[in-house]
Subunit: 361 residues, 5 copies
């Protein structure tokens, strides 16, 4: 739930890493490419990375899993990361942000885990240098596989561009992962709308509350990400070139569209909650009507029957030969009168039977 | 629904076009005019456009239907459009926006489809160059027919002005299409208000929710459009001249008026929802009153009758010759007493019968 | 209702006038004054105005009624108005605004029609030139009669000041017309508050909704007007002198005070709606209590009577001489026990009878 | 109520004073002090003030009561006040504001009248000159008595500082008057919270609405005052020296704290309204439960009794010697069965009796 | 509660200290450290501090408890604090803020008391000079013990850095104290969610209101603190060096994350309140259904029994030998018919029994 993040204990020294205890051992993967050249290495030991630090080609180091603090500290030292930066990378999840440091730029983003049962939005961190990009994830999410394929095959402009274009490609794909989540929530809302109409059972409301909560999660995670994209676009940085701007701008547009759709879905959710509550009230209303009808008709009749069930010795009507039939007729008249009156007041039949038909304006 | 837009698959290369699968083959139509000269061509092949690229007159190329990717790419190449711009044109619908490029300005707008059953707001894209304007729509909406007529007939200032004036004329007509939609929703609200008063049936609420959703759609689409108009007015651009400013400003005013009216209609919708819920409660209330009246009057009477229906051997009242009539009188008194008490408490008659009359302050 | 404004047809050329069809023929009235000199003319023909265009005195031309398009166009030509300005004047109602043109300043304001049945807020337009002011209203509202009197009588500083002071005097009087409307709505709210307490009948809610809607109308119209006043104060203009600033500032203050009072009234309205709904619920509650009391007391008693009304041959109690009286006593005890229990649970009497008295903290 | 302010009639000339008709005759009181010198005069006639206008010491003129227009105009002339300024002073109440004029600065503030029955927030106006301060109140509120005492006794820095420090001291004391009001409202809220728990009677809601309205009044009055304080701090003024800044800043902090507390109290009020409505619903619910229980148990039993009260000649059970006892047993079983079922469904007893105990997380 | 703060009496002179009456006598504790040198003194008398004022090392004076006004004034004089600053320190609690003075910077922060029963957020004040830091708390909260340990042990960079780093370390630890509070509230929300599902008893709502109020308290206290951190980051100050910036920025990030989580929890609270109210309504609904079922079935049956309990002499059915059995059959048919009808209308069984199973989209 909201606050259930592992925290370093109160008063821990800055720079204390709070690596998630279930984080698997790191898998480090390296791409070194430019134009037609493309090297790919599964790094076993951080020292293997050293030759590439000075490489003039584009170097992409992808670190998945934080289960070995020593290796993370070694990478941080190799690329000269500030202790607080390393904290930001490992004390997941952080708010999305973009921070410019003298030698590199730190970008923190989030993307929904496509394999999670519930809406979970783990963190992905980027260290963008002049000719390298390092990416960090605390588990093996596999977000970046399609881009990896594009680099291998040399398709599109990716091998012709710098690390900022690679950053764009990866950020853009992260946002792509939001859309299926939003779509699923949206479809659930549609389903619920039908259920509310047909069968307003109480679990509909719990489902709506859950969807609302999921939408809030997406919103809380998405807005800072949008701000971080904005910062990438407007803060002058030595690491993001003018060429990458149109791409990043289109990524920002996608994010805005997503956020607007999420807001619209929240609106719909609120509307459905109102509709549900009103339908429940409507059902109670209908049941009430039937009870009123039954009770109001039979209570006087039963009373009449009660009168003539009394055992007084002197009840002249009892001896009349036709009074039984007369009383039956009286009862029938009372019943008919009540029904007519109720129908007149609009409490009967007209309610849900005679739905007015009305076209769309 | 909200998220049901076709998406390129996750991780698609930028520049991948996501043309709607039901988009018909392109109809390309060209105007080339200035002052008294006015040429009109139904373009069969993109190469026909080439002579007009260099034309010193105003050239308006209108493309409706995206069913042929090759032709779209040919047009993009002919006018030197950025790959991301082409994506923006075809991956409909986008948020309305205005983007200045070195050689042209991209404006994306939206307008309600007048032929759609539900509120649908397709995209219209504009490429404004120094002496040309290209417009893109993914289906044959026919939004621009009235302007086409004005160009043909040379009425008004349109043939004396540049492509920015043409842009204004087209944007302005797009906003005109919003008003009938808003008017229809507004009239439906008025109808519903009467229904709520007379017959608060549960489908009223669904209609109100639908109207609210439609208003939200218009609002979500309209606000970015208003911002795009603002950007056209304030961002220095080589393609929008000072002469067109007063016209664009009046278009912006129309948009603001529309948005304010939409907001007022949303307010009314909320008020009607409250009114409906309250009326429902009121109806339940009235029904309750009748039930209470009936039950409260007859329950004691029936009890009295029950007493004298008991078969005890020693019940002295039963032998008295007048006790039957005495008991009937007692029952009558109890009934009258109850009615008087209820009327005193204001639970009877006074409720909906004696509506106080109150003038308007 | 909201969107029911006459609109030029979709795609009409800019400059098309949409004069309201019920607008009466124009009454044109002219003041030409300065210091002790004051000429007043009922203009029959626009050509009569020509001599005053070059007058060095202050010229105030007041046009009421738009029923003659030719005359309006003649005035526009005489004073050199832009076609879009003329559109703004006649396509009523527009949003309030202030627009500076090279030769004059256009101010559009709104004021509640004091003779209208419902809250209606027609438009008044001002063309402020260097030494003239033209005012336009689409019907004979008579807003300006008190100022006219002040000019005639030369009271106060009005004849010593320029056209900007006249503009102030007229704008200020327009805002004066809002206060009676606001006062009337406020008094209605007070009345309703009492009704809600005494007699929460369902039309109270409709009245509250109507008042809320009227307040929203005043608010929607008033905010742009306040912005327009702000623009008059802060935008450097050749037509508004430094001397008029303190006056316009006090007009802006009045407008702000009005808007705040309207917002407070909306707040009160929401509070009353809540109060009403709660009172309704309270009433239902009380009725429920009575029903419950009656039913719960008599249902067991009637059951007991029912037992001894059975016709079994072997019912030993029936033969006991005192069992009838014993059963009556039993019934009485049950009834008393129920009442005591209900009173103990606080469901009886204590409810609305024993209102606690509580002073104001 | 909100709009019930006396207004000059529509179209009154600017400078028309709208003095409240119940304003008592002015009491004018003068302090002239600096360091050890301190003169105090009860001014009978405005001419007495003349010698002090040119005084190099600090002069504080306090005017309470507006019942004599001539005297007010004389003071205005003596100190060279703009006609609109005089209007602002007398047409109470105005929004709080700060306005810089060439020769003086006008500050309008509000403070709750400690002697009023309801929350009333009269206006206090300040005219701050280079070495004088004039204060205006329309009745004898006695807000400033503690400061007067401090001047007389020469305690604290007040006699060493300029008129801006005096202004601060007076503004600060005005804000002090808000706190008892806020405290009273807050205590009432606490009381109501208990009442809601014990005895949700309908007047609780009216009290809550009244408190909410009072809080809104304080808020509406307080926000402009905070803005006016801000303006005093940031607008460069010849009358407020750098030395007074820290004092005014602390006054602004007090005001912000007050406003935040008012907002928190509004929040609490909303929460209590929700709680009240829910408790009412809860009570209805409990009553319903009892009715359901009684009715559901006895209705079938009464039916059984009814069967054996029928007078058919051929009803074999009637002749069986034990059938009476059998039927009684049957009835008992049905009753017990119903109770067991209801208890199983959680409709009985467990509801409000067995409150779960739960500690604070 | 909100307004229950001790206040100096109305009109008190500025500089009057409003020390909480229950504040214990001061415990003054001093650290003087740099690199390897670290002196620690339990100060008995303020004069002991004098030698350290001129110390070139970092001096941290911690004052807990305000029970001795003379000592506080002595410290203020020793370090040259403004009288208003001293007021800010002692008149707890203030809004969090950062104020730059010529010789020092005042920072006021708040942190939840971990030992308090309810959510209480006492004030901690900091005076940051060029080479000293003074901290003030009105009671012995022990917030800073972990940092004290780090200084003693010389762990981490703390002994290598200036007083601004010490300020950061202390501010950061204060924020750490918020998280357990937020976590506790969050866990209570989770518990309540389950209770709402199982057992919507009325105290759930009171708990939710209490949690909401606590969240509001945290929010009201936290936002100004976040602003104060922002001010520390952006306002140019002689006391905060560039080196401390990244640390303070990460503290600000923590605060933002906390505030977002608090907002999310408020959202959840609102959702749970809705859910609770709806569940209550649902329960009422179910009970209503049972009552309706029972009443509607048995009322007609009882009526039939009543008819044949009448004592008319001439009732032909009574003599028929099989009519008793016929009537019993009739009653059975009526009962079955009613049940079938109710089941058809969806009022029976299908309600809560046949929960549809629906997977997660």
């Amino acid at each position: 739930m909201t606050f259930k993040k592992r925290l370093p204990p109160i008063g821990a020294r800055p720079g204390t890493l709070a690596i998630p205890p279930d984080s698997p051992p790191p898998r480090i993967h390296l791409f070194d490419y430019q134009g037609d050249v493309c090297t790919e290495v599964d790094v076993q030991d951080v020292t293997q990375l050293e030759p590439y630090v000075e490489s003039t080609r584009i170097t992409w180091v992808d670190v998945q899993g934080f289960g070995d603090e020593a290796q993370l500290r070694a990478i941080a030292e190799l690329f000269g990361l500030h202790p607080l930066t390393l904290e930001d990378l490992t004390n997941v999840p952080q708010r999305a942000k973009s921070e410019i440091h003298p030698d590199h730029q730190l970008i923190i983003a989030r993307a929904p885990d496509p394999h999670a049962e519930q809406v979970e939005v783990p963190q992905v961190a980027f260290i963008l240098g002049r000719n390298y990009l390092i990416t960090f994830q605390d588990r093996y999410f596999g977000f970046f596989d399609p881009v990896r394929e594009r680099i291998r095959e040399g398709l599109g402009p990716i091998r012709q561009q710098g690390p900022d274009y690679l950053l764009y490609a990866l950020l853009d794909i992260l946002i792509d992962y939001y859309f299926p989540v939003a779509l699923a929530l949206s479809e659930q809302l549609e389903d619920l709308e039908e259920y509310i109409h047909d069968n307003p059972s109480p679990d509909v409301l719990e489902d709506l509350q859950r969807i609302r909560r999921d939408l809030v999660v997406v919103r809380r995670v998405g807005w800072p990400q949008r701000e971080a994209l904005r910062a990438l676009l407007v803060e002058p940085s030595a690491f993001v070139t003018e060429d990458a701007m149109p791409y990043l701008r289109s990524t920002e547009q996608h994010m805005i569209q997503l956020m607007e759709a999420v807001d619209a879905a929240r609106d719909t959710t609120s509307g459905l909650i109102d509709l549900y509550i009103s339908n429940i009230g409507q059902k109670t209303n209908e049941i009430m009507k039937v009870l009123t009808l039954m009770a109001s008709i039979f209570i006087p009749l039963t009373f009449i029957a009660g009168i003539y069930g009394m055992n007084f010795e002197n009840m002249p009507e009892l001896q009349q030969p036709n009074s039984y039939f007369f009383v039956l007729t009286l009862m029938g008249s009372v019943a008919v009168g009540m029904v007519v009156y109720f129908r007149h007041r609009g409490w009967l039949g007209g309610g849900s039977g005679s739905r007015r038909s009305r076209g769309k304006g």
